[in-house]
């Protein structure tokens, strides 16, 4: 398969994630969208590394996966803290700060 196919797949996954982030109203749903966007980048990195024969991209992917998980952990922890106090995770209901 040509490189373009992988890049197109990654762009599609990124666009789906972006759509999810923009349309979801639930914090966990938004988080899922962001995860899709980050994983689209991983597809890109691995495809580039495979086609150029340079291992740097694969190395980078290992780091992004680890960072992504750390991000999910922090995100869920924040969601739990807010849920304990407010009993809602709908992004629309978080409106104490004008913005």
């Amino acid at each position: 398969m040509p490189l373009g196919a992988y890049l197109t797949l990654a762009a599609l996954v990124f666009a789906i994630g972006l759509f999810g982030v923009l349309t979801r109203r639930n914090a966990v749903g938004i988080l899922l969208g962001i995860e899709l966007m980050l994983n689209a980048v991983n597809i890109n990195l691995v495809a580039f590394a495979r086609f150029s024969g340079d291992l740097g991209g694969i190395l980078f992917t290992l780091f992004t996966i680890a960072i992504t998980v750390a991000e999910v952990a922090v995100g869920l922890a924040i969601v739990i803290v807010i849920f304990r106090v407010r009993r809602t995770v709908e992004a629309d209901h978080l409106d104490l700060l004008r913005g």
Binding site: P2, L3, G4, L7, T8, A10, A11, L12, A15, I16, L18, F19, L22, T23, L62, I65, A66, V69, A70, V72, A73, L76, A77, I80, F83, R84
Partner: protein
């Protein structure tokens, strides 16, 4: 031009997403009745979700699990090359796991692993 399809996907996605976001606002009639505002549309008002809520401690433990679990990502390539890396690789992994254990020690002493 390997990248042309990628650009087209972005343009297409922007178009579709924009259309989906804004067309309903223009076209759809908005008549909110009390029935429509209910969370479930048939039967009685739900008292609670049938399985009940999961206790929040499940998610805390799940977060700890996934954080420690993902470190295997770095251990696995190291294990594949363990013999070739020699003593240096061994020492490096000890340092890595040592730092990880510091975090584990912190979770443990903070009471993060207590079930009750």
């Amino acid at each position: 031009m390997t990248y042309a399809p990628m650009l087209m996907v972005f343009a297409f996605a922007a178009l579709v997403a924009g259309a989906l976001l804004f067309l309903p606002k223009l076209a759809a009639p908005r008549r909110l009745t009390p029935v429509k505002a209910e969370p479930f549309e048939c039967g009685k008002d739900p008292m609670e979700i049938s399985e009940g809520r999961f206790a929040i401690k499940f998610s805390t433990v799940a977060i700890f699990f996934i954080l420690i679990d993902i470190e295997l990502l770095f251990v696995w390539p190291w294990a594949m090359l363990y013999r070739r890396l020699g003593w240096f690789g061994f020492a490096e992994m000890l340092v890595f796991l040592g730092i990880l254990m510091l975090g584990f020690f912190y979770i443990w002493r903070k009471g993060g692993l207590e079930w009750e």
